[in-house]
């Protein structure tokens, strides 16, 4: 189920503007990969290009290759909708569908894939996904209530449950904890640790301690210079990255001497 991702010399454009240039990396299956770097350096753009969500912005395009287990994401024959069904995403701010109950929120993705689902089957998916997101015990008695009634941290876990309900191959997280308090953050981080055994996870974070805590590998992004495109400065094992990085600017950033 979980798959690895290979990125090969990827350039990402918004119209004529080159946002990210020349990225090469291999994201391992069943591991957590963190992207760190200052704001505006293209981490989120890079993350979004992994499930073609950046194409929501008109004029966005890429050059280069992204391969998920040998299958190119940007082949002409590949439908972005199909890509997003395989590669789930969790956003910076929790975004459950406001008019749907908790139950329906979890099933939203499944309802898109298969129109008809038996009640028992649906119940099972909801329970499995909510348990997977460590939310089941908190909400099992009020599945019919609106998802918006939950706290921020619970909403974010609901969004994770919604993303894993369709059993994606990869889970992308775009600063999933930046809108949450420390306790909810730690709940999400614990969850990331558990999800790692089943999914390939890529997480963007501004919080370097968080990257150090949750990830196996880390990519450091930075702008080449002001006004220049973003690039991947260093991609390395997280422990090595935080103890003894290969690149000077990585060390400067991590030790807080810069950015």
């Amino acid at each position: 189920m979980a798959k690895s991702i290979t990125v090969d010399d990827l350039d990402i454009y918004y119209g004529d503007f080159l946002a990210v240039q020349g990225v090469n990396m291999t994201i391992k299956a069943r591991s957590v990969t963190a992207f760190i770097g200052p704001s505006g350096c293209g981490k989120s753009t890079m993350l979004r290009s992994l499930n073609r969500m950046h194409e929501v912005i008109p004029g966005a395009r890429v050059e280069g290759k992204v391969m998920v287990d040998g299958q190119s994401l940007y082949d002409n024959a590949v439908d972005p909708v199909a890509v997003r069904r395989q590669i789930g995403m969790v956003f910076q701010r929790p975004n459950p569908f406001p008019t749907m109950s908790i139950y329906e929120n979890v099933l939203a993705g499944n309802r898109l894939n298969a129109k008809k689902m038996k009640k028992a089957e649906a119940d099972e998916i909801v329970e499995r996904s909510l348990k997977g997101a460590n939310l089941w015990n908190e909400v099992k008695d009020r599945l019919g209530k609106p998802g918006m009634g939950l706290s921020g941290g619970q909403q974010q876990r609901l969004c994770i449950a919604r993303a894993i309900a369709v059993e994606p191959q990869v889970l992308l997280m775009d600063e999933p904890c930046s809108a949450l308090d420390p306790i909810s953050t730690s709940a999400i981080e614990d969850l990331i640790h558990e999800l790692k055994s089943d999914y390939t996870i890529v997480i963007v974070t501004h919080n370097m301690q968080q990257a150090a805590r949750v990830s196996d590998e880390t990519g450091f992004f930075n702008l080449k210079a002001a006004g220049q495109p973003g690039q991947l400065v260093e991609f390395n094992n997280t422990q090595k990255m935080f103890a003894n990085p290969d690149n000077e600017s990585t060390e400067a950033y991590i030790s807080g001497r810069f950015g």
Binding site: Q86, G88, N95, T99, L112
Partner: protein
């Protein structure tokens, strides 16, 4: 609010005597209800036709403009639709009777020949096309801009967050619209339809000019004699205003006011009902 109350008080004071005038003022109908029932029917029928035609079209255009078309098409299209709203209803009336109605006659002939077994297209076909269906279609064009403009506005205000949530789950654009845009825009869409309906129910000149009225209650949409609408009837009868007629006309106005109010209220209640169901 105060204006609304003022209008209501005026209509009640001036209109209630209209319910109890002597028989001569009801044009052979005997009593007020006999007089007003076919007017009310005509009003509702024309407005219903207008809504059936205009609402899907307006939502469709609004969606294309807000979510499908590239910017360089969407802008001009939205602008042209807005311009339609600025055309005075007399112009729509003139256009309707001189150009649109005659053009509709062959279509009515066809409907009568092929779908004549439906009560709506029973015929005989009106030779000049001044039917309630024509009036309804002209109304549809008139209410299209307001419904389009308001629904476009609420569609574009859908939070990107919710749209992205749907897209990231692998929704196609249409699925994203169903999942994120419609639930968010629902009450705005109802408001848009209500404003359109209000205009269709109250529209005076265009209906008075296009429709050859005088008929009774009938679902035959393409015949020569049609039920006219309350507002059009007030406009055409107003010049012969003896106090008695005037009271009767104001009373019909009161009926129209109440109908509009009730429809509005019902629509709000339905929307609120949906929300209540969610809250439980």
């Amino acid at each position: 609010m105060a204006t609304l109350a003022g209008v209501f008080i005026f209509l009640t004071i001036e209109g209630v005597p209209g319910f109890f005038q002597e028989e001569q003022f009801y044009k052979g109908a005997g009593n007020f209800w006999g007089y007003v029932d076919h007017l009310l029917f005509g009003t509702v029928l024309a407005a219903t036709i207008a809504l059936i035609v205009a609402v899907p079209l307006a939502f469709g255009i609004a969606l294309v403009v807000s979510h499908y078309a590239p910017k360089w098409i969407a802008g001009p299209v939205a602008y042209v639709i807005d311009l339609l709203a600025a055309v005075p209803s007399v112009v729509f009336g003139l256009w309707g009777i001189n150009l649109f109605a005659p053009k509709m006659v062959p279509i009515y002939d066809w409907l009568n020949a092929h779908l004549g077994w439906l009560p709506f297209f029973e015929g005989p076909v009106n030779p000049v096309g001044t039917t309630i269906l024509t009036a309804g279609l002209v109304l549809a064009i008139m209410i299209l801009p307001i419904i389009t403009a308001i629904s476009r506005e609420v569609f574009t205000q859908t939070p990107v967050l919710h749209e992205e949530a749907a897209l990231a789950l692998g929704a196609t654009r249409w699925e994203m619209i169903r999942l994120a845009v419609f639930p968010y825009a629902k009450s705005g869409m109802v408001s848009a339809v209500m404003l359109g309906l209000g205009r269709a129910l109250g529209e005076t000149m265009a209906v008075a000019m296009v429709l050859s009225g005088g008929g009774g209650i009938s679902f035959n949409l393409i015949a020569s004699s049609n039920p006219t609408s309350i507002a059009a009837n007030i406009a055409s009868q107003y010049k012969e205003n003896t106090p008695g007629t005037l009271h009767v006309l104001i009373a019909t106005g009161l009926v129209l006011f109440l109908v509009t109010f009730l429809v509005n209220f019902a629509a709000r209640w339905i929307v609120a009902g949906n929300d209540r169901k969610m809250a439980r």
